[in-house]
């Protein structure tokens, strides 16, 4: 009696191919998982430390102590307000004058630094915006959206207030309502060692 070929004798997928396929699928799942976890992380929170190697290039005319670039670690010892904005952002206009007003009240003290981070904007439009609201504190473009990615911003305007150690003490999503609101928060942060 002759034997008919059965499914067991059919050529199957070799082991090495199976391992590769399953490894690929696993890798893909891990990547998707990491991506989803990042997406759900939200902005950096109070208590998070801002990476010290962050730098912001500044627009000409909006330099910090005459320097066209500012490193965040060089600002240790000062309270830093980081404001993300854009000229195309209407809610940003609501707080622009308030931010400038608050900046003017701290400028002479030398204990507080305001940094405007212009998010995905064009320089000519950004300059018109800065001039329109008479903004004088250091401002610069977020080149390659590197800062926005490190702060994990969800939109503009968003403001982060860092204490003297570079630790986030306050996060504001959306515009400030008044200069007093900004000053009240900064005064609290200034009390911290």
């Amino acid at each position: 009696m002759t034997e008919h070929p059965t499914s067991a004798s059919r050529p199957g997928v070799p082991l090495w191919a199976q391992i590769m396929i399953w490894s690929g699928l696993l890798g893909l799942l891990i990547m998707i998982g990491i991506g989803l976890a990042r997406a759900q992380q939200g902005t950096i929170q109070r208590g998070d430390r801002v990476p010290s190697n962050l730098t912001l290039n500044l627009y000409q005319g909006y330099e910090y102590n005459g320097q066209s670039q500012v490193r965040f670690d060089a600002l240790r010892g000062k309270v830093v307000l980081v404001n993300f904005w854009a000229s195309w952002c209407k809610p940003c206009e609501q707080e622009a004058a308030e931010l400038q007003q608050a900046w003017e009240s701290y400028q002479s003290s030398g204990q507080v630094v305001f940094l405007g981070v212009d998010y995905v904007d064009t320089e000519p439009e950004a300059r018109i915006y800065l001039k329109k609201f008479n903004i004088t504190f250091p401002n610069g473009p977020d080149l390659g959206t590197r800062l926005a990615q490190r702060f994990r911003i969800k939109g503009v305007p968003e403001t982060y207030i860092l204490d003297r150690n570079g630790v986030v003490q306050y996060v504001k999503v959306g515009p400030f309502q008044s200069a007093q609101e900004i000053q009240m928060i900064i005064d609290q942060v200034l009390l911290r060692p």
Partner: protein, 165 residues
């Protein structure tokens, strides 16, 4: 008005018209030759994506930010910048994610390598599966006769026939 005054007025009017006629075509020429057309702008804009509103090409994006970027492209084209220079500027300012086609470097290679690999793996798998399929063997008459001669098989067949009755 005297005859002389009228003549001067007519002369001035003709002169004014002449001046207007002289400048008018030049203005049009500047507008046409100096500034890039929407098509020229959109040719580059469609290769870029709005970084604010995801998955929207710049040429069809209706937001204020996109309008500003299209104007920036127009301005850069008018300055004589090449397509590559403009795209490079956008990458420097807004990151590589604005490009419709990710640059072939680093982690981006996955986008280019993985899909062809998956297709290739699928083709190999399909080929092996199809090759594994077996055509039913033809009935061998001689083998059937040999089996029928077997007493055990004959008894089995009789039993089956009896059961059917």
């Amino acid at each position: 008005m005297t005859k002389c005054g009228f003549s001067i007025a007519v002369l001035l009017a003709i002169l004014l018209l002449g001046v207007l006629a002289f400048f008018q075509p030049r203005q049009v020429t500047l507008a046409q030759g100096g500034m890039p057309t929407d098509d020229e702008v959109n040719r580059i804009a469609r290769q870029l994506y709005c970084p604010v509103c995801e998955n929207t090409p710049l040429d069809v994006c209706p937001t204020e930010a996109c309008r500003q970027w299209r104007e920036l492209i127009r301005q850069m084209l008018a300055e004589g910048k090449s397509e590559a220079e403009i795209k490079q500027y956008f990458v420097e300012y807004y990151g590589a994610r604005v490009l419709s086609e990710p640059p072939r470097q680093g982690f981006n290679w996955i986008v280019y390598v993985l899909p062809p690999l998956m297709i290739l793996a699928g083709v190999v798998l399909l080929f092996r599966t199809l090759r594994g399929w077996v055509k039913p063997a033809a009935v061998d008459e001689q083998e059937v006769e040999q089996l029928s001669a077997d007493p055990l098989v004959r008894k089995l067949e009789e039993d089956l026939r009896r059961r059917e009755k």
